[in-house]
Amino acid sequence: MAIFRDRQYLRVNVDKSPDESLWMKCKSCGELIFKRRVRENNNICPNCNEYFFLTAEERIEFLVDEGSYQDITKPIIANDPLMFVDRKPYCERLEEAQEKTGLTDAILVGRAAINELPVVIGVMDFRFIGGSMGSVVGEQICHGIETAIKDGLPFLLVSSSGGARLQEGLFSLLQMAKTAAVRGKLAEAGLPFISIMTYPTSGGVQASIASLGDVIIAERGAMIGFAGRRVIQHTIAQELPSDYQTDAFAFEHGAIDRVVKRENMRDELSLLLGFFAEVT
């Protein structure tokens, strides 16, 4: 497929430290570029086509019709049920992530329109503890799906997650079953679920809700898979191909329907939603 530039990951710049300067340096080609031009170009380097990382808010801005997004994210926050402490208490990690991102947790949920077709959309944010799914993310996804059922709309989920939120232990693991159960209700209601996998979609998120889409679309450069490279090398020390868990790998092995460039995603979705608009 022409869309795969090479068999390696597209490197995705996740550096999002707040910075007031008007210029930035592309980590891929080294070119000094005007930030506004990058933004206008879907956060893709105008010089070398490197994809820069998108926050949930940026993703929404690039994906849905201007002014159409109405946030319905539930006003809830994680409450550290295990009082988990590793090198740092979980409650501190939460506060830091909230401060850094301005988000309550690793997802935003809202009503929106894509080329005038109404949807309910959930968008995960990798900056918030690796986009990991704990009790709050699980609840927000269910809330989004339930809103879609109530309004008779399609549900879209843009995943960007390393997997389960380890600091919530089994509560996190069980979010996989929770989101799967609620996804079943959407199917019973005859409404479509479009799963969009971006960099990265892995672990407990890939092994639950993200893989249960009626249609699964990967953004070019996505990393898709269950057990990461390090896990495999630690447990069974197997040699892995260089394209392991790339979008190309997932596509070639039939795990996803399509791989789409970021700049084409909105048109692709509106084309797809058009089919379902006639039955919902």
Partner: protein, 319 residues
């Protein structure tokens, strides 16, 4: 503090004396009684105050009864089914029809190997996509004929190799989860040893989830958590505590329904009693579930999973 090996040695010594006692006609009964009392004391000391990390060791003890041991003890006429009808068979995940108290049930379980040779075939109980697809097939068979499903969980996790990813292990687990949330027959799950992550949950979505006293169930292994969160594999003990992965902790957190007791030292010390206790618990829960109308059963299962998770209302103003 004595370890389990010392206790095993002592036990062997007692057995030796017993033989001498009967063969040579030397009266050693006083000696034997004394040693037996000592052994019991030591065992009590060793096992009455187990740390979470020690329980991880017991859950993984290679002498621990595995799924096929329980299947033999709890069911009759186990009729194993093989293959996912697409790609192959997976001996890490076994499935079949059996009788439980004379009633047909479908059994799905992870099976570890006893020997190196067997583990080569059973992948140490780590199932691949074909295993989860076989499980789904067996569960759908249960639904078609109204047989309750009983699943036994004992796995370090799903098999994390290249071939698993090539046939979409994540998708296979996701499909199994969805199937189990909707399956129109009662489902009982028991974590008998290791409940490792998504690979365990994939066959543990149920109306009742039980755990043996020394079983563990976790989102990640203590070693994995130590490597990722502590950046130090040596801190697996701390991770084991932080993860709340023991049966008692998970019961206190309201995440499982019942803890089935084990004898001091673990299920293998008195397998007859452990399996009888487990059977009694399963019978009790199955009777309760059989008393429900299908809609009540499915509504209760849905409510159980819809409600899982802990969070709080956000205070106004702050993030």
């Amino acid at each position: 503090m004595s370890d389990e090996r010392t206790l095993d040695l002592l036990e062997a010594k007692i057995e030796e004396l017993r033989q001498l006692n009967s063969e040579d006609g030397i009266d050693l009964s006083g000696e034997i009684t004394k040693l037996e009392a000592k052994l019991l004391d030591l065992r009590r000391e060793l096992y009455s105050n187990l740390s979470d990390w020690e329980r991880v060791g017991i859950a993984r003890n290679p002498k621990r009864p595995y799924s096929l041991d329980y299947i033999q003890a709890l069911f009759s006429d186990f009729y194993e089914l093989h293959g996912d009808r697409v790609f192959g068979d997976d001996l890490a995940l076994i499935a079949g029809i059996a009788r439980f108290d004379d009633q047909p049930v479908v059994v799905v379980a992870q099976q570890k190997g006893r020997s190196t040779e067997e583990n080569k075939q059973r992948f140490f109980g780590m199932a691949r996509p074909q295993g989860y697809r076989k499980a789904k097939r067996a569960l759908e068979l249960a639904e078609r004929f109204g047989f309750p499903a009983i699943t036994l969980i004992d796995t370090p996790g799903a098999y994390p190799g290249l071939e698993s990813e090539e046939s979409n292990i994540g998708g296979a687990i996701a499909d199994s989860l969805l199937t189990m949330t909707q399956l129109k027959v009662p489902i009982l799950s028991v974590v008998i040893g290791e409940g490792g992550s998504g690979g365990a949950l994939a066959i543990a979505v149920a109306d009742r989830v039980l755990m043996l006293e020394n079983a563990i169930y976790s989102v990640i292994s203590p070693e994995g958590a130590a490597a990722i969160l502590w950046k130090n594999k040596e801190q697996a003990k701390d991770a084991a505590v932080a993860l709340n992965l023991t049966a008692d902790h998970l019961h206190d957190l309201g995440l499982i329904d019942e803890v089935v007791p084990e004898p001091l030292g673990g299920a293998q010390r008195d397998f007859g009693r452990t399996s009888a206790d487990l059977k009694a618990a399963l019978t009790r829960h199955l009777d309760e579930l059989r008393g429900l109308k299908l809609s009540e059963l499915l509504d209760a299962r849905y409510a159980r999973y819809r409600a899982v998770g802990r969070f709080q209302e956000r205070e106004s103003g702050g993030a």
